[in-house]
Symmetry: C2
Subunit: 372 residues, 2 copies
């Protein structure tokens, strides 16, 4: 992964002597660790990755995951694995001081480093100077390379396949949790390494709560429903939302769906390198705010997607001045939420291309009435 390491330094105006990423206990793992060290399995709790300006990478591991680490590094001459023990000449302290001798300046990824780890690093490396390398780490992760896009495409395909099947799974009386179980089962059967986040299934009024978690509410005829879900594929995430109407029709909710679809189209039409995130968000919001549902689109239009579902960096939201670049992957997910009645959200994953965008997710987006 020499090129990814070099990319991190290329985005830093002042180059530190090294960039250090440190994992704490799950879930407090720095996802960028897995960007620079491409290991397919393992948590690597407590592990540290040290990236050098020449593209090389030192990785520490506990004996527990040493085998996976060596396997991952086998064909990459730029990666060196250090198995560390609790004490003695192979302790983390000794190994880190060997990797980082003298008084190095060390870039850190503050948003994914725990404060406890920061204090520990100050003790382990008392002569080092710690600086903020967030920008480099984040931007390097944002612009995906071909191998990452392939994994994201696979994750999106798994989600799309399940999204297409949802109408065939719906039955009067089934609970939100039951539908979530069926969907997650199918994602895993189709090759997912689990779901990428807690599946959101909201029936009826629950569909008006963007971050609702499924419960024992039963499906009854005449309600809208929001299904927001995604798969992991080799650590990369998809994130897709489809909304359905469980017949008979409700005239207002049909109109709401059409409006959300139009808002998504307006946003998609703007996607290309050089466009600021806020401009894309505004296009979708304008469509919704021109209707009687003005003000009911209550969240950002989209976020970066990659090793994390909320991957950091350029999103599509009101305050984002940063511009899109070729190779970025973002979600586009407008919604309208009518409290007490129901909501509609449509979410797709797209990769920014040289002149526009390409869908990674493919399931139908239009209004769909499923007979009860």
């Amino acid at each position: 992964m020499k090129r990814r390491v070099e990319k991190v330094f290329s985005y830093l105006d002042v180059k530190p002597d090294a960039v250090l990423l440190a994992n704490s206990t799950d879930p407090h793992l720095d996802q960028s660790f897995f960007h620079l060290f491409e290991v397919s399995s393992g948590l690597f709790e407590g592990s540290v990755a040290v990236a050098h300006p020449d593209g090389s990478l030192d990785v520490t591991t506990s004996p527990l995951e040493a085998e996976s680490a060596h396997l991952a590094a086998k064909h990459d001459p730029h990666v060196k694995i250090h198995t560390v023990t609790r004490e003695g000449p192979e302790s983390l302290e000794v190994v880190l001081r060997k990797i980082l001798p003298g008084t190095p300046s060390i870039g850190l990824n503050f948003p994914e480093l725990t404060h406890a780890w920061y204090l520990r690093l100050e003790k382990l490396l008392p002569s080092a100077k710690f600086v903020d390398a967030t920008v480099g780490v984040r931007r390097a992760r944002q612009v995906k390379d071909a191998s990452e896009i392939e994994k994201l495409r696979k994750a999106a395909e798994i989600g799309s396949r399940v999204g297409k099947e949802i109408p065939s799974l719906l039955k009067t009386g089934m609970t939100e949790l039951e539908l979530a179980a069926e969907m997650e089962y199918r994602m895993n059967k189709y090759g997912a390494n689990g779901r990428s986040f807690s599946t959101i299934i909201g029936f009826g009024p629950h569909s008006a709560e963007p971050h609702y978690q499924p419960g024992d509410t039963k499906l009854t005829p005449g309600v809208s429903m929001v299904c927001d879900f995604g798969a992991y594929y080799h650590r990369y995430a998809s994130d897709i939302t489809r909304s359905f109407h469980f017949g008979p029709r409700d005239a207002e909710l049909k109109e709401v769906h059409d409006t959300v679809e139009a808002a998504q189209q307006a946003a998609l039409a703007l996607l290309r390198p050089g466009v600021p995130g806020k401009v894309v968000h505004q296009a979708a919001e304008n469509v919704i705010n021109a209707t009687k549902w003005k003000g009911l689109f209550t969240h950002g239009l989209g976020h970066a997607l990659g090793l994390a579902v909320h991957d950091g960096g350029v999103g599509l939201a009101p305050n984002v001045d940063e511009v899109l670049e070729e190779g970025m992957v973002v979600t586009v997910e407008p919604g309208i939420y009518i409290a007490g009645k129901g909501g509609v959200r449509i979410e797709d994953d797209v990769v920014i291309t040289k002149s526009g965008y390409e869908f990674l997710t493919t399931a139908p987006r239009g209004y769909l009435e499923v007979s009860a």
Copy 2:
């Protein structure tokens, strides 16, 4: 949750004026936030909880999750919800300064706070003095109250039910991922809010890698297998491992299983309040090291379990001097790993009682040969 808040302060020798917990972006959420603020759904990214010595709790939320927050606080007069906006008089800065006026000392949970959040707090509250409240936050979480033990018991029951069913799911030619999919599906059907961690299924030699992630390896007769999995139930986790032999018998692996079982029994026999974690670990290790598999038990015997699978605090491991207390929930999971051949691990979740322990997980632990 007044009592939980008070518990945090009771464990702190020097009481700060407040204890503040801050969530970053998923997965960088402070699980202790959900210990003090018992809200059943939502991520609460960017939210802050401020606990006061009188047992009251201020919680900030984005408009996105305000509804869930208010619902959760409805019947608790000690919780106050503040919906914050990006700017203006309801911004986080203004709200925090209102909640924490003057020059307060503020305890933080360093292991679950990102360094970026720490720096942000220094800017938001320039007159405050930040101190380490990790011990209070962690210990309050370790000793579970009755409502937590009920949730953990339910999570463990779901895992145990699936554990019992594994033998009936095994078929020659099925892949590790397929078995994982079947198991996770059943957990969800039995009421889980998803899996609590990435399911580990290792067939044959893979069972010798403690943190292996399942792949496309097919089940063939004559191998051992390790299944390590768990459910979330209302945010609380279970973590159970069962090992099976897919016939015909391998004499050594049968002996390995019996040895691991004996090691677990030796450890369980010591569980009671007042016993240091390392003593329990040592008992299991001694059993294994008295056999020809000496040195092949390569990890700690167990960890605290709760809102996180690795819940922090007292574990059962070589260096742990801290002692068990009534109400703690820990895993007990000895294993033997023969590289290239196979491994066996048996893991149960137990709650420490006044005079000993009680199993939360219940599926059979003994050697089981499943006919191919």
